[in-house]
């Protein structure tokens, strides 16, 4: 019997896709780099961002990456409760990250610094928001994985699914490190 074993190609395909997503973020980073001084008379990055708040946000996301790794290990050991605990923790931490991001956005908009206020803010909201959108999609992916685990338990398919998801989730971590460094840290230095 000749198997059409297409699932073997998924990790490589995912890596290839992630490369293209890097380019998407690269173009948004480039736009931010070009526009970050175009504040149209409004406050610049240093006056807007609270690095301590964003540091906590960052730690939340990095912790979620850790729990995501635990989910992969638990799935390998066929530890159903471990998978549940780790995936739910990842989901909650991802949700907390998104909530913090939306709070930051809400505060900025309430103070009149909306994405419509200047080219700088357009670029900022789009870059950070696109990352947030990816986190949201990751959250949906986690929900789907939890449904699979609930219905099917830990099978070859579900544990593979968790592994694929972890690739995506760690990638979002790396993008966030770039955002944290280039947008928030450099921003608070007011370069």
């Amino acid at each position: 019997m000749t198997r059409h074993a297409s699932h073997d190609y998924v990790p490589f395909g995912l890596w290839v896709y992630i490369m293209s997503d890097c380019v998407l973020f690269a173009s948004l980073f480039a736009a931010y780099a070009v526009l970050h001084t175009e504040t149209a008379g409004g406050p610049a990055a240093a006056a807007l961002f609270d690095p301590h708040f964003v540091l906590i946000e960052t730690l939340v996301l990095l912790t979620s990456s850790f729990t995501c790794g635990l989910a992969v290990l638990a799935a390998e050991r066929k530890n159903v409760r471990g998978v549940w605990a780790a995936l739910v923790a990842t989901l909650l931490l991802g949700g907390a990250f998104l909530a913090m991001e939306l709070t930051e956005f809400g505060n900025l908009i309430a103070a009149g610094n909306s994405p419509q206020a200047s080219a700088f803010l357009s670029a900022f909201f789009t870059l950070v928001g696109t990352h947030g959108l990816h986190i949201f999609i990751g959250g949906l992916w986690m929900l789907a994985l939890l449904m699979h685990v609930a219905i099917r338990g830990i099978t070859k398919g579900t544990s593979r699914g968790i592994l694929y998801f972890s690739l995506f989730w760690h990638f979002l971590d790396i993008v966030w490190i770039c955002i944290f460094s280039l947008v928030y840290l450099f921003g608070s230095l007011s370069l």
Partner: protein, 652 residues
């Protein structure tokens, strides 16, 4: 409920109404024909839901053919307008309508003819050339096609409901911003391209994985046919270039939909950033299209010269060098921006440098032909025609890569003639050659040679008559996209000549469609019963024509380049029994569902029907979720069926 869509969107002037009627009546007559011939079930089961790359490829080809007609009509309309809107005459198109026509022409020809045609040929041939049963992700392949088709449908819908962008094919801001293009035309443009672009990106992922992972045992990278190499290069370019397009159009869309300021003239927006970003995608796009055409020529020149390809390694190196250099030349599209002499010099020299690997390729083809026993078949004629037009276009390109010269020629008809020289004489002739060459493999019967040759001669003569005047007009100072020319300018006679050329091309296209019909009618005695119609060298010719569902009864073992040629020399056929069971992907409607929801999303964005956005996104999520629970996605073709199929195709 309907956003900004009102009944006014359906009411147009007389000429637009004509276009509207053609689209609506064409659609309705197809629906009626399907109903009367009771072909609905057949259409869905056998074609629309198919995950077979060969069938998906044919659907891409059909879409490209339809769009070629639409884009061609746009071209005739433009040539007609410019030939009569002179002096006291104002032509038959309003300036706004004329602008929509030239914008639609460019978008359709690049995205829905060239790209679509390319993916058609890749789907039909690439898996066969690497000795694979299918692509790496058959379902994603179907999704890619349907997203491309959705983009095309959305674009053509703008003819019926609303309007299309009047901004040129790249929709430069600030003109494409809401302040200067308040209608929905630019939104149709954005969402047609976004949706088709995602399909293209997924297809690139698919073919990269297919080429890297699915090659037959023994087919090392340096044993791959050159077409496979060029597709790999082209798909890598898609992977790195299309996300830039997605990001750029997303930014433009955010400007238009919620009032951001990426490219506006106020509050710090920077329109030149758009021009930089769009060409950072747009220049690689040119190579995305031309590299597979180079690959096609590299396949057929050895076959019709009856010699192996000259300089295989240098061909591979040249392909990869072009791939890398193509990301370093984008500024040559706007030397006049004012980036400064040093920046312009860098990009000018980088542009000239690309001519070197391209020249290597041309010499390799010529040396392949040298002392070969050349057969002047239709595909070979397309190649010879390509050599002349492409070298002419290449030389005018190098001419314009000199920044001071470009300052004179920027935005002139010289430029228009140059890139048509590359895209028609290079890309399109390449794909026509590929279609003529692989037609027997794809459909199982050969084409009428005499009519094919007639179409070629009409094309090349029409091309020269239509575009050489444009070179001259450009040197005379005529800028592009004029809906009216002054009588004193002296442009008029040459514009009439160009119209004649466009009509000859229209005749050529008609002859092409006629020659498909004639060949179809005579398919019984044009049948390719050997599977090796031309005496080919590569694996696609080792299986029957058309290839069976499973492509190969046995996965071939490759021992060198030109694998099939080696098999023939050793007297192996690779088709004898005993056979084994083969697993294949089942058909699926998932692609249709996802594309349907994507269509709703695009339409909702264009007409500000915000409620449609969450509905369609939820629909896509649920579709994917449901599919993720599917278990029986493959089926078995039993060995007995394989044996029967092989015996039927190759009676001993």
């Amino acid at each position: 409920m309907f956003g900004i869509l009102t009944s006014a969107a359906f009411i147009h002037g007389p000429i637009e109404t004509g276009g509207q009627l053609v689209v609506v009546l064409g659609g309705v007559s197809v629906l009626l024909l399907l109903t009367f011939t009771k072909r609905w079930k057949w259409l869905f089961r056998e074609w629309l839901m198919s995950l077979d790359a060969k069938k998906i490829g044919i659907m891409y080809l059909v879409l490209a053919g339809l769009m070629l007609v639409r884009g061609g009509i746009d071209a005739l309309m433009m040539r007609g307008q410019q030939a009569i809107a002179v002096g006291a005459g104002s032509g038959y198109l309003s300036p706004d309508h004329f602008a929509q026509v030239f914008s639609a022409h460019g978008v359709i020809m690049i995205f829905f003819v060239a790209m679509t045609f390319m993916f058609g040929l890749i789907n039909c041939i690439l898996p066969l050339q690497i000795g694979a049963r299918d692509v790496a992700f058959p379902l994603m392949n179907s999704i890619s096609f349907w997203l491309t088709a959705t983009g095309a449908i959305l674009l053509n819908l703008s003819l019926v409901v609303g309007e299309f962008a009047a901004t040129g094919w790249l929709a430069y801001p600030p003109l494409s911003e809401l302040a200067y293009s308040p209608g929905v035309g630019v939104d149709y443009y954005i969402w047609a391209l976004q949706i088709a672009g995602i399909g293209t990106l997924l297809a690139a992922v698919n073919f990269i994985v297919t080429i890297v992972k699915e090659r037959a045992p023994g087919m090392t990278l340096m044993r791959m046919p050159i077409f496979v190499w060029t597709v790999l290069a082209s798909m890598l370019l898609v992977l790195f270039a299309f996300p830039i397009l997605t990001g750029t159009l997303a930014m433009l869309s955010l400007d238009r939909a919620i009032g951001m300021h990426f490219f506006t003239t106020t509050l710090g927006g920077n329109a030149m950033m758009y021009v930089n970003l769009i060409w950072a995608w747009g220049h690689p796009e040119v190579y995305i299209l031309i590299l597979p055409a180079f690959g096609i020529f590299s396949e057929l020149v050895p076959v019709f010269s009856q010699k192996r390809l000259f300089g295989y390694t240098s061909m591979v190196v040249a392909t990869m060098v072009i791939t890398i250099l193509s990301f370093g030349v984008w500024v040559h599209h706007f030397f006049t921006m004012g980036a400064g002499a040093n920046v312009n010099a860098f990009f000018g020299i980088a542009t000239m440098a690309i001519a070197i690997p391209t020249g290597v390729k041309v010499f390799n083809w010529l040396f392949t032909m040298f002392r070969g026993r050349i057969r002047y078949t239709t595909p070979m004629l397309w190649f010879m025609g390509f050599l002349f037009t492409f070298i002419l276009g290449g030389m005018t390109g190098v001419l314009m890569s000199v920044p001071p010269v470009d300052f004179q020629l920027h935005n002139s008809l010289f430029l228009v003639a140059h890139f048509h020289n590359m895209v028609i004489g290079g890309v399109l002739f390449g794909y026509f050659a590929g279609l003529a060459y692989w037609f027997p493999k794809i459909f199982g019967f050969g084409l009428h040679e005499a009519l094919g040759k007639l179409a070629f001669w009409l094309w090349i003569v029409g091309f020269a008559v239509a575009f050489i005047p444009l070179y001259i007009l450009g040197l005379m100072g005529m800028t592009r996209r004029l809906d009216f020319v002054d009588a004193a300018s002296g442009y008029h006679p040459l514009l009439v000549v160009a119209l004649v050329g466009a009509c000859i091309i229209a005749l050529a296209v008609s002859v092409q469609f006629f020659h498909f019909l004639v060949s179809l009618r005579e398919r019984k005695h044009r049948k390719d019963s050997s599977g090796d119609y031309w005496g080919g060298r590569t694996l696609e010719w080792s299986t029957s024509s058309p290839a069976p569902l499973y492509n190969f009864a046995h996965i071939p073992h490759v021992h060198g380049r030109d694998a099939f040629w080696r098999m023939k020399e050793k007297g192996e056929s690779g088709r004898e029994g005993p056979y084994e069971d083969i697993m294949l992907p089942k058909n699926s409607a998932i692609g249709l569902f996802i594309a349907g929801f994507a269509f709703l999303f695009g339409f909702g964005m264009v007409w500000h029907m915000w409620w449609m956005l969450p509905v369609s996104l939820l629909g896509i999520f649920v579709t994917i979720l449901v599919r993720s629970f599917a278990t029986e996605t493959e089926y078995v073709v039993p060995a007995a069926v394989v044996a029967r199929t092989e015996a039927h195709h190759h009676p001993v």
